[in-house]
Symmetry: D2
Subunit: 297 residues, 4 copies
């Protein structure tokens, strides 16, 4: 019986309980010994959308050797317009499954409805709830019934209180494996896609024991700033990074402007590594240090 199982603590009291325990971040295990919330940072990277076999295989091959912990890729895409690309849909599931087994990498994908949860439950190691669904309370309740890690992204204009309350919807259902993700908030300035609110990372870490990741790709929206802000996120106390990376960013079907190339992904690790060390954290050891200069795709 988990010490965080809300049903045994009872209703409103549970939140306060959790806050008291916040000094020590809870470790959320992903798969294959990888986790978020411990000394080791969790590094998730991959394309915005699953597009085809070649794209996913080359991404998994490269990112795996680089020491990336899990591969992201959406098969259901939440898009502002109904006329934009909506993702591969269920066709993508078999592809995700094949890549996951071949490269022994856990996979992370977004869900937007009960039907999608059922469809990807077998293959996906981590479910992502996107910003636009942070207050889709029915969806939160549904993932609250699972025993599977959930990355919950902060809503575009969600207060920290609302963000934590959205997490409570999942936790109060019994699923204690929640990872928060700051991904930029909406503001008045158009110089970056959103405003990355790293102060929120520090505040969240003081208010809850849930681990907190940062997605610098969606926050900045421009690839040239991603590595720098990934470093700043780790300095601010983030427990992991969620980064968009694509074999050929210019050909990405969505968010091309923000995806890193493989070379830029290496630069990111080179940038973030020393900062992680400076704050007493580290990446999991990949083949990176020895082989990175020989990798091509």
């Amino acid at each position: 019986m988990s010490e965080f199982n809300i049903k045994h603590h009872g209703g409103r009291a549970s939140r306060a309980d959790r806050v008291e325990k916040a000094a020590k971040t809870r470790v959320v295990e992903i798969a294959g010994g990888k986790a978020c919330g411990g000394r080791e940072l969790l590094l998730i990277a991959g394309p915005c959308a699953v597009e085809d076999e070649n794209q996913m295989e080359s991404s998994a091959a490269f990112l795996g050797r680089l020491g990336v912990d899990a591969l992201r890729g959406c098969i259901f895409k939440p898009r502002t317009s109904p006329y934009s690309y909506q993702g591969m849909g269920e066709e993508g599931i078999a592809l995700l499954d094949r890549v996951k087994r071949q490269f022994e990498m856990p996979v992370v994908t977004e869900v937007m409805s009960r039907e999608q949860i059922e469809a990807v439950d077998e293959v996906s190691d981590v479910l992502q709830i996107g910003s636009r669904n942070m207050q889709n309370f029915e969806l939160l309740k549904q993932v609250g019934l699972l025993n599977k890690p959930v990355i919950l992204k902060r809503g575009l204009s969600a207060t920290i209180e609302e963000f934590l309350m959205a997490a409570e919807y999942i936790l109060s259902g019994g699923n204690e494996r929640v990872i928060l993700c700051e991904r930029g908030i909406r503001s008045f300035d158009q110089a970056t896609r959103n405003v990355l609110d790293l102060g929120a990372v520090a505040v969240l870490k003081s208010m809850t024991d849930l681990p907190v990741m940062v997605d610098p790709s969606h926050a900045l929206g421009k690839s040239e700033f991603v590595a720098t802000m990934a470093g700043a996120a780790i300095a601010a106390g983030a427990d992991g990074l969620l980064v968009e990376c694509h074999p050929r960013p210019a050909q990405s079907v969505s968010d091309a402007r923000q995806a890193l190339s493989f070379e830029e992904m290496e630069d990111l690790i080179n940038t973030v590594g020393p900062i992680a060390e400076a704050v007493g954290r580290s990446f999991r050891q990949g083949d990176f240090q020895n082989t990175v200069h020989h990798i091509a795709c």
Copy 2:
């Protein structure tokens, strides 16, 4: 074959088509000859949440005599915290149905998932999609398959472009009976609950032929400003109003601070009536003018 049936216009072109036709607002029929988008304003009022029989009956009796066109009342409540009151749920359906038949008033209720749509489809004349679900694209696609009026509320920080694109999700599914609803946007000032963006009403009316309602209750969050802002909304070109009204506001289970009492609801009609006339609009004729001073509840 409807002139707005997107499937016969084909994909991306359809939006431009609609904009060209925007000079004339489309009339969305509700029920019983009531509609939104014509010269007559649509007035929807009622409690935030359906609580009990007495509350709903006294509301329907009073509001019906006042000339209110439809009764609102949520049985599924989207709440920031999982520990707040979540609504009566399916128990409330029979109650809504009884009140609707007894008082011959169309009813409006919010849905947050496919299951809820199926549950209320028989009884509810209009479905409401709340702000937090404006970009719940799976939900939008589902109501897009119905032939039932949908009030789509603007997201807390949705741009006008995103708002229209959310409407496109419904329209492109074949459901042409969409009513937009401005309900205040999130801002830096805490003097009002949200900032009522009446400029958006004027902009929306210039960009689309969809009718536009305004919810001054959620926008302001304080009952003392609701009537004034309802008048301003009509002056800005709104095609209808969605107002929270409760027999005993102080005892409302949610949003008590913003609900109007019956007396304040009368004041609202007295305030808005002359402004409606000044802009060439009117309320549907109720028993209001002759009998209002004799109504008690």
Copy 3:
């Protein structure tokens, strides 16, 4: 001895005193029997910047006959870039003075420093403090020492509390002739230049006895929405309007996109008039009703 003279009420108490008196809006007299805060609305219109004699004369001639109460025109322009047009400067003073005398219209102009106050004090009937200077506390203290009406525009992201405190800087210096002006706040949406916060007008009217004007031109930033929103502002309780109008908007040296033509200015009065009447207000009687169809410039 004025009943509002703060020095005789003493420090912090004075704000509370004023709030108590808020039921009755204070009437701020401008000149020539014109005022803001009474039953009659104050209508100020004119070009953004004073450009040349012909522009100002034709504006004064037309607007005066239309019943506009005062002529606006900046000779010192606050511009985002130092390389943009900065206004005519002191050369414009004599021009303003000539036009004011010839057409017997009070004039309103913006000041940004003590030097500018001294330069325009003789000619300007009303001083305007722009949004960017709402918290230029030294400037506020300086106009607080004058006995001259001041239109204080709300800062781009000023809370209502900060706005009232900025007014207190002027009031506490002894100058009781302050008119607040809502002109749109900064937000995330780029569909309009700013978001016109008419809820703030209602809130301000409940918190203070100072009259409140609205500038729909800067708020919306697009001429096609100005008349509609001017009507909404009056419905929301505004005591006056500040409107940009130019003989040839397309040739305006600044803010061309938002200035009304003379014809659009007539439309505005036709739009707002009936709404004013609906809320028990009126414009001062101009030659408008009889002669407007014969006016050319």
Copy 4:
């Protein structure tokens, strides 16, 4: 003749020139060999307001030994309310001067008007323009005529473009010694005082050669988050820090909630030091490493 002297490059062209040179940050010299923009970070700390001799002497003694480069302290305070403490005013000048000479530390103070500039010009090594005055264009023009370093703080809701244009007002007057300072922007969340926009630091560094400092104290508004965010700021590329520190924070006349104690200031340096090293930067060598454990005040 400076290569950045705008008068020799001429008007509008100068901005583009500067952007081209942005690869290499310009070094702005402060005094006593201290500078901002080179490999060494500039560290400015001290109380929000100059209060008395004891406060300033103990601050200078402690911070100087800690390796802090310059002492901040306002004698003119911009306050939201006219009834709040407005600063020591001219009395404070002699005090600042005495402390500066005794402890051989450059001093930084805020100015809000021409009169204040004249009053502090002799004593202050660096002038600060606060957020509320970022678009006080007359003030910017005045400091543009000096040959003295200016720290220009970003306005509460200033876009990056507006921030750079405000800097241009100073630069185009001939004063090339401008340091930009990000200090948090206004947003919807009240969990922190403002939202620290570290993405803006990265963007600014890519757009201009001006050095960029960060003020984490005003951004977060809570002392417990200042050290962490100072580290994140350096990771994001900041060239220096501006930190509020007070011998007895709880007794500070203003902003008590955000001021660091001396002990917390040491922690900040211990936190930031390794991150600075990780990004190839360093603090100037103080007595810190050897003596810090023996310092008392």
